[in-house]
Amino acid sequence: MLTALGGDQIARMSAVHVRRKNLHAIVCIKSVPDTTEVRFNPETNTLMRDEVESIINPFDTYAIEEALRLKEAHGGKVTVLTMGPPKAEKELREAVAMGCDEAIFLSAREFAGSDTWATAYTLAQAIRRIGAYDIIFCGKQAMDGDTGQVGPGVANQLEIPQLTYVFKVREIDLEGRSIQVERLLEEGREVVETRLPALLTVVKDINQPRYPTFRGIRTARRLEIPVWGAAEIEAAPQYLGLDGSPTQVIRVFTPPKREGRVEMIDGDSVDAMADALADRLLGDKVV
């Protein structure tokens, strides 16, 4: 089912980045297989997603939760967005059951086989059409593809700042158009401030996602979700789907199992065993 652009939506498209008191957060989610046994199409080397139950990418549930918390704190609304095959609409409805207010579904044959660049392009086009927003939330990566590239790619396409691996939103100033976050990095935490609108990718330690509510389920049942194809987002066909993807998956394979072995260090006392272990580690130049 396709929905035509409404008059107010067109008005909002031309009013991007205006100052508003209420928050508008957009959350990009991905429908992923609920299994570790992902199967691949050997011809295209892309994921075969038709045969297993799908779920919202677990990292994206933290993105949804963070958006909902900001909405509760500041007022406003949360729009959830996904691109995927027809059955991925289920994941949008689940996001609505958690409390998202609106949902947009990007689903068309021409989007099939998109790599991370084409996906980011397609999502960015859709976000342009959605109109004014303050923050875009993404999970730090999807648990099937594991690239972590789509969020930053969307920010790049939209030419807005990106804050990746966000662990905490410290401050948000919708009037002054700024946001300050803590990023969780390998070396520690980093506090960063930037202007709004911005795109955030979040890590799982940021919050504990809520359960869907019955009110949310009732809303999800009745919500009409617009389905957008290439025409609705005014996308350039050469940037879409498999043909629009600059990367090609040549081969997907399970890495060979690492061979390991165990050696027990004997000794008369804990100190003696620790000495032997230290000598061994130094000898093998591990430390």
Partner: protein
């Protein structure tokens, strides 16, 4: 005919599964060992809206259908029976009975806070000397002006210590036998109400069971549910809903047995192969799967009849009878699959076995259901229309705001 669960059913299943795995599973062994009831869990179930799951939104409920209630029971009992029991008594035996029989005033006063989880409710039929033999009740209600004076003792009442309001059955006319029983909504705050806890149960040790003592408890006439003498019919109609939740829960327990047994059968090796490759282990697992599938179909049939607003006493009895026996047999097999480890509380299956026995006894023992089915087949029993029937599920009506 359509046996598909709706997307809403699937969302309810996922919600309750996640809830049970995160809120119940981590601490259940501790509560079971210590025979302690987790009041915090009850509060979380209330917050989540589970305590009004299949009640209309205008009465404070969640607006789901009767199959959603079943799914929630299945998912709760998949983790532990004690959590499902909460839905059985609060929703099945009490709140749904108010939905069916209560006046609008009674619904406003008692059903709404129950559906919202603000007040907890239970059902008081069983007595020390009256279980299957309901007419053997000894509790009495004597009319005294605009009130009744209740005296008696209730036993084996789930949530007895926790509930704020009780549906109590008592004789208003002992000579009229079962036609002399009436039903009353009794608040814990009424003077003369006391409750006690039962410890030392074989199973459902994380659940609260107890006794209710009523000594000269004055209950306003406005708190009588239904007409005088209508209590037996009300009690039996409540069981149509309570038994339904028990049946669904048992399917969840069978599911837990299958999951545990399959996992263990793939891990444990004997004679050089995983035990799942032994045919006699396969037989036990196959039978569990068979019981789960049959049980689910019987429950769905009963749920469909409820959604349609059609009488389902026979079908619900069949589902309850079959599923509870099937859960007990499956739990016994699950312990067997686990061998000596299954006999220890290191694994969950011993708890499943202990938990499954109660349901073969309560809400109509296996023997009562056997006799009921025989009586239906022989033509000795038929269900007549009730003055107040359980309303059919109507999506628009259930979701309408007050």
């Amino acid at each position: 005919m359509d046996l598909h669960y709706t997307p809403e059913h699937e969302m309810v299943r996922k919600m309750v599964r996640d809830f049970a795995e995160q809120e119940i599973a981590p601490t259940i062994k501790e509560h079971d060992r210590e025979q302690s009831f987790d009041r915090g869990l009850l509060n979380k179930m209330a917050e989540q809206g589970l305590l009004g799951i299949c009640l209309p939104v205008k009465y404070g409920g969640a607006g789901m259908d009767y199959i959603a209630l079943g799914i929630a029971c299945e998912e709760l009992e998949r983790v532990d029976t004690s959590a499902r029991v909460i839905l059985s008594v609060h929703v099945g035996l009490n709140s749904m009975t108010l939905l069916q029989w209560a006046t609008e005033e009674q619904k406003e006063r008692y059903l709404v806070p129950q559906a919202m989880g603000e007040r907890i409710a239970t059902y008081g039929l069983t007595e020390p000397n009256a279980g299957s033999d309901v007419a053997g009740l000894q509790t009495t209600a004597r009319r005294d002006g605009d009130r009744y004076i209740l005296n008696g003792e209730k036993m084996w009442i789930s949530l007895a210590d926790v509930a704020d309001q009780f549906l109590i059955f008592a004789y208003t006319d002992k000579a009229a036998k079962h036609r002399g029983i009436s039903a009353f909504i009794v608040e814990r705050e009424f003077p003369g109400v006391e409750t006690g806890t039962i410890h030392g149960k074989l199973g459902v040790r994380a659940g609260n069971s107890g006794s209710i003592s009523l000594q000269d408890v004055a209950v306003p006439v406005a708190n009588r549910l239904g007409e005088e003498g209508e209590g037996f019919k009300i009690a039996m109609s409540a069981l149509d809903n309570g038994r339904y939740t028990v049946a669904w829960g048992s399917v969840g327990l069978i599911r837990a047995c299958i999951e545990a047994s399959v996992r263990y059968a793939n891990e444990r090796h004997t004679f050089g192969v995983p035990i799942g490759e032994h045919q006699l282990v396969q037989q036990m697992i196959a039978q569990m799967v068979q019981r789960r599938d049959i049980g689910e179909l019987l429950c769905l049939k009963a749920g469909w009849l409820k959604n349609e607003g059609r009488r389902n006493t026979r079908e619900t009895s069949m589902a309850k009878w079959y599923c509870c026996d099937a859960a007990f047999d499956s739990a016994a097999d699950a312990v067997q699959v686990h061998g000596a480890y299954g006999y220890s509380d290191e694994y969950d299956v011993e708890r499943y076995l202990r938990n499954s026995k109660g349901a073969v006894i309560y809400e109509g023992s296996r023997e009562i259901h056997t006799i009921m089915q025989a009586q239906y087949a022989l033509g000795y029993r038929e269900d007549r229309p009730l003055r107040c029937e359980m309303p059919a599920y109507d999506l628009d009506e259930w979701e309408a705001e007050a």
